[in-house]
């Protein structure tokens, strides 16, 4: 099994979610994150003082998938998350040794 982690733009979340659903993925976990990269932050001015935000808001998405699905899932996310503009994000895949579904106690591939 693999863990696919994707850092995407918040506004692409809906599209990515729908694309994954369409692909047949039924579960995922997301959280808020902040990214630092080529895309720069922005600045605000308060009473003459400039204030810089280095980090840019991102969504961090995690999906556990079967070994064989990993590649396709990366492709699906890639496609749905792409806007072509700087800051689109990053995806990585990590090997997973064990998975469990808490409600049922199932283990391994059944638990995905």
């Amino acid at each position: 099994m693999k863990l696919v982690t994707a850092i995407i733009k918040p506004h692409q979340l809906d599209e990515v979610k729908e694309a994954l659903e369409a692909f047949g993925i039924s579960g995922m976990t997301i959280s808020e994150a902040s990214g630092y990269g080529r895309q720069r932050g922005h600045s605000e001015v308060y009473r003459g003082a400039e204030y810089t935000v280095d980090f840019v808001p991102k969504i961090r998405l995690e999906v556990i998938v079967d070994d064989m699905d990993a590649k396709s899932v990366v492709d699906v996310i890639l496609k749905a998350a792409q806007t072509g503009r700087i800051g689109d994000g990053k995806i990585w895949v990590v090997p997973v040794e064990d998975v469990a579904r808490v409600r049922t106690g199932e283990r391994g591939t059944d638990a995905i």
Binding site: K9, P10, H11, Q12, E15, E32, A33, S34, G35, Q39, R40, G41, H42, E44, V45, Y46, V53, D54, F55, V56, P57, K58, T83, R85, I86, G87
Partner: protein, 442 residues
């Protein structure tokens, strides 16, 4: 009569407080967190610009030549308040600086009310241009016609104690027309755009209720010919309007909550806040016209009807963002028209409506005045709205709208509640829009 005068001073301050910060909070809490500052700025900005306009030509256009039976007063006659006595008259005729100031706060809140219909999407500069023109073309004439013995009043003698037509129908129709001209927000009726901070909205509604006693009760105009009679009138009339205002508002709040429970299963705090405002709106024209029973009926009808009416915008696909039509136009019509039925000669207004044996005269007067306002301001607002649309333009860019108007128009975000003080984009609750400014949302 210095007591009456002291009350007018306080009332004037209270009506100012209704806009700044009352309405700004009421509206601000209902927007998304990325738009709250802009929403508040539309109220604050409207108040400031109205002040200048009102002192220059507004008072003159609205009140010069009171009783002349014309459509407007001469804007140059009292330009810059020249000739207006700052030795305010104690007879309550509305002359003197305090009379001017009291009316000024009404014009300001009317303009500010409109902003709820076009939340989250208009350029601050366009708004600041719109307000003075709208006041000139739509507000001062209606005020003249209604309260300064202008054309309409001469022919219809409608009752509008504190602004059912002048303030609420006026703002309501203007809001509806502007929303139509300016168009929907990106994502309207698709994306959830739920209130970002209902404690602000509840606070705003509370301050509005408080301030409305200045608005309604302060609208007493003394006609007593002796000091004793004036004092007696002051005491009896304000007791009446204070009571009606209180009871109609409570009834409207309860009615809205009941309606919600029926329609959606739950009574919400947004419903309570909205019911309060709907009741206040409806009792505004009628607080001097009806008795206790009438006030309760008006409150119940306004609360229930507005609770239902706010859902209509989705049917008509009209992005009246914070329900200016559903609350102010509908509520204003309820209060204005029900006077025709519920008005009683026992009340200060002294007119009997349909249910009190007064026949159809009152209903006709009220309907006529409402129609006049709808048409006049509907057309006027359309002209101004279109003129701005095709010259300087109304809308911020779609990207800016998605990213957040607060950052885009004002370079700010409202909240920074995070431990790191907003240094992570995401910990600034409104950080997203800001960042998106550079990345460009899809």
């Amino acid at each position: 009569m210095d007591g009456y005068y002291a009350f007018m001073l306080v009332s004037t301050a209270l009506v100012l407080m209704m806009t700044i910060p009352g309405l700004a909070l009421f509206y601000g809490g209902m927007t998304r967190s990325k738009s709250v500052l802009n929403m508040m700025m539309l109220s604050y900005g409207a108040f400031a610009i109205t002040t200048i306009v009102f002192v220059l030509w507004g008072w003159s256009e609205g009140w010069a030549g009171a009783g002349n039976g014309k459509l407007i007063g001469n804007p140059f006659e009292l330009f810059g308040l020249k000739g207006v006595s700052w030795h305010s008259a104690a007879d309550g005729t509305g002359s003197g600086y305090v009379g001017v100031l009291f009316q000024l706060t009404f014009a300001a809140i009317t303009a500010a009310l409109i902003s709820g219909a076009i939340a989250d999407r208009v350029k601050f500069s366009s708004w600041m241009v719109f307000v003075p023109i709208w006041l000139t073309i739509c507000y001062f004439p209606i005020a003249h016609n209604t309260w300064a013995g202008g054309f309409v009043f001469k022919h219809l003698a409608q009752q509008d104690y504190a602004g059912g037509t002048v303030v609420h129908i006026n703002a309501g129709i203007a809001g509806g027309v502007l929303a139509l001209i300016i168009g929907r927000r990106k994502g309207f009726a698709k994306d959830p755009m739920r209130p970002h901070n209902l404690t602000l909205t509840m606070l705003g509604a509370g301050l509005l209720w408080f301030g409305w006693y200045g608005f309604n009760v302060g609208s007493v105009v003394l006609a007593g010919d002796t000091a004793e009679k004036s004092t007696a009138q002051f005491m009896s009339e304000t007791g009446f309007t204070f009571m009606n205002t209180t009871i109609a508002t409570a009834a409207a709040m309860l009615a809205w909550l009941a309606m919600e429970r029926i329609l959606h299963g739950k009574a919400t705090s947004l419903g309570a806040a909205s019911g309060i405002v709907a009741g206040l709106v409806a009792i505004t024209p009628s607080c001097g016209a009806v008795g206790l029973f009438g006030a309760i009926v008006i409150g119940v009808v306004a609360g229930a009807l507005c609770a239902w009416a706010v859902g209509l915008k989705y049917k008509f696909n009209l992005d009246d963002s914070l329900d200016v039509v559903g609350v102010h136009l509908v509520g204003g019509l309820v209060g204005t028209l029900l006077i025709g039925f519920l008005s009683t000669s026992v009340a200060p207004g002294g007119v009997d409506g349909l249910f009190y044996g007064g026949g159809l005269k009152s209903l006709g007067d009220q309907t006529g005045a409402a129609l006049f306002t709808l048409v006049w301001t509907g057309v006027g607002t359309a002209v101004i709205g279109l003129a701005i649309k095709y010259t300087m333009g109304w809308r911020i860019t779609e990207e800016a709208e998605v990213e957040g108007i607060d950052f885009h128009e004002h370079g700010e975000t409202a909240y920074d509640l995070a431990p790191l003080g907003g240094r992570l984009g995401h910990s600034a609750p409104s950080g997203l829009p800001a960042s998106a400014a550079l990345e460009g949302a899809k």
